[in-house]
């Protein structure tokens, strides 16, 4: 994760590959990883919104915990 809270190059590459492969479950996990690793609250929530959205679509087992993350930061209710 860089100083601005963006994912490092390796994680970014993994996210792009998962997008290309249309691998929603993997993408949800990678976005969640980016969120958990980001020191910047807004950036973290941005990534977690993506993780939560894909988790909803693909019924990821951690959907509820992603939701709680957003709720804790007043981004979901």
């Amino acid at each position: 994760m860089d100083a601005c809270g963006n994912p490092d190059e390796d994680l970014e590459k993994k996210i792009l590959v998962a997008h290309q492969n249309n691998d929603g479950l993997k993408l949800a996990e990678l976005y969640a990883e980016a969120a958990y690793n980001s020191p910047n609250k807004n950036k973290a929530c941005f990534f977690m919104v993506n993780a939560y959205t894909l988790a909803l679509e693909y019924k990821h087992p951690k959907t509820q915990s992603f939701f709680q993350f957003l709720k804790k930061h007043d981004r979901e209710n």
């Binding site: 807004n42 973290a44 929530c45 894909l54 909803l56 981004r75």
Partner: protein, 382 residues
């Protein structure tokens, strides 16, 4: 005024009546008018519930140009929605698939549950913010279309103001109470589509009557003669024909399909074929049933979607194939006459034709319904 006067003739007693005028089969504006009055305002057939057998299954379907999808919800209910995101109107479902979790719009990823509720609005309040005070998710669910499943068919009322399905169909549901039970779709080989170059109403009219059987279906005539048939008419609801000499399909060893259990004795040899207005043609027999859903494509083109159903989930495949082939042959035999009637409607001075006062009663019953509904619709509009 001329159109109304002509439709008055349709509503005369059968011996004096004319059929519907040509424009009801050939004219785009009348086609549009009938779409609103006869299809949208009534309970129309859309699809069969067997197309979405599992929880989460979705299938996009266009009905008269309206993008819809059918879905089997997490609660195992069949529902019909407009296939349009409440955000920017994007089509939500572009291909038949199984929804694991939520329906996600491919554009900005607004998410809906399978029962139509808007459950997530990613970044709607800015990056990383799923909330905004002006976006009330509880009011932005998918637009549901009234629907009801009966005889394996998903019926819809697009106008939303028809009487309840059970009230609209009461008389037929009572008549066929014996068949109000789970029907098992025969699978892939028990579905087929026939495209006809004809107005949808001609398919209804041909289906209603037995008058044409000796000439168009000579193979049926060998055991199911004209005199073995009877008319079925219920004004403004449905009409059709019945036979008293239905014979079960047999394979070379004499095997037949299992019967529906506990049928009345009359069904040992009876079968009935009823056009449920507007666009569903149903047939019932002791051992199978079928539904033909007519999907009008244009004034002179119609798709007939045919589905066969059985009394049990597992029936012999070779018999199902044979039955499908047999029915396909019968329905294919109807195509030239239905398309021929369509061609005949381009004769400028054709007056809608006359009816046999004895043999064409179910067809006249349908014409009467169309004329009556269209005239009432025109009066409401004016």
């Amino acid at each position: 005024m001329e159109k109304t006067a002509t439709l008055d003739k349709v509503c005369l007693p059968i011996g004096k009546a004319n059929g519907l005028p040509n424009e009801h089969y050939t004219c785009s504006s009348v086609f549009q008018e009938e779409k609103d009055i006869l299809l949208f305002a009534k309970w129309s057939g859309l699809a069969v519930s067997a197309e979405i057998p599992n929880i989460g299954d979705v299938v996009p379907i266009h009905f008269q140009g309206i993008p819809l999808f059918i879905v089997r919800t997490k609660e195992n209910k069949v529902k019909v929605f407009q296939n349009t995101c409440r955000h920017r109107g994007m089509i939500l479902i572009d291909t038949a698939k199984s929804i694991e979790g939520a329906i996600r719009c491919p554009y900005h990823s607004w998410c809906y549950s399978t029962d139509g509720n808007l459950i997530s609005t990613p970044h709607v309040g800015g990056p990383g913010r799923n909330l905004h005070e002006e976006i009330d998710r509880s009011k932005l669910g998918l637009t549901e279309v009234r629907s009801h499943v009966w005889m394996g068919v998903i019926w819809i009322n697009l106008s939303g103001n028809a009487p309840k399905f059970e009230d609209s169909m009461k008389e037929l549901m009572d008549r066929w109470a014996d068949f109000d039970r789970p029907l098992f779709h025969g699978g892939k080989e028990s579905s087929f589509t026939i495209e006809i170059a004809a107005n949808w109403k001609l398919a209804v009219e041909n289906y209603c009557e037995s008058y044409h059987l000796p000439w168009v279906h000579p193979s049926l005539n060998s055991y199911s003669k004209l005199e073995d048939h009877y008319h079925i008419e219920y004004k403004n609801k449905f009409s059709g024909q019945g036979t008293k000499v239905y014979q079960q399909l047999k394979d070379k060893d004499g095997n037949v399909f299992p019967d529906f259990s506990n049928l009345e004795a009359k069904w040992d040899t009876a079968a009935e074929y009823i056009a449920v207005y507007p666009n569903v043609l149903l047939g019932v027999h002791r051992d199978h049933a079928f539904a033909i859903i007519l999907i009008p494509d244009s004034p002179e083109k119609t798709n007939e979607h045919i589905h066969l159903f059985y009394s049990q989930e597992d029936t012999p495949e070779h018999l199902r194939l044979k039955n499908s082939e047999q029915w396909r042959l019968v329905f294919d035999e109807d195509v030239p006459v239905v398309e021929g009637m369509q061609k005949g409607r381009h004769a400028v001075n054709f007056d809608g034709g006359r009816f046999s006062p004895v043999m064409d009663n179910p067809t006249h019953c349908f014409h009467y319904w169309v004329a009556n509904e269209v005239q009432n619709g025109r009066m409401r509009k004016s």
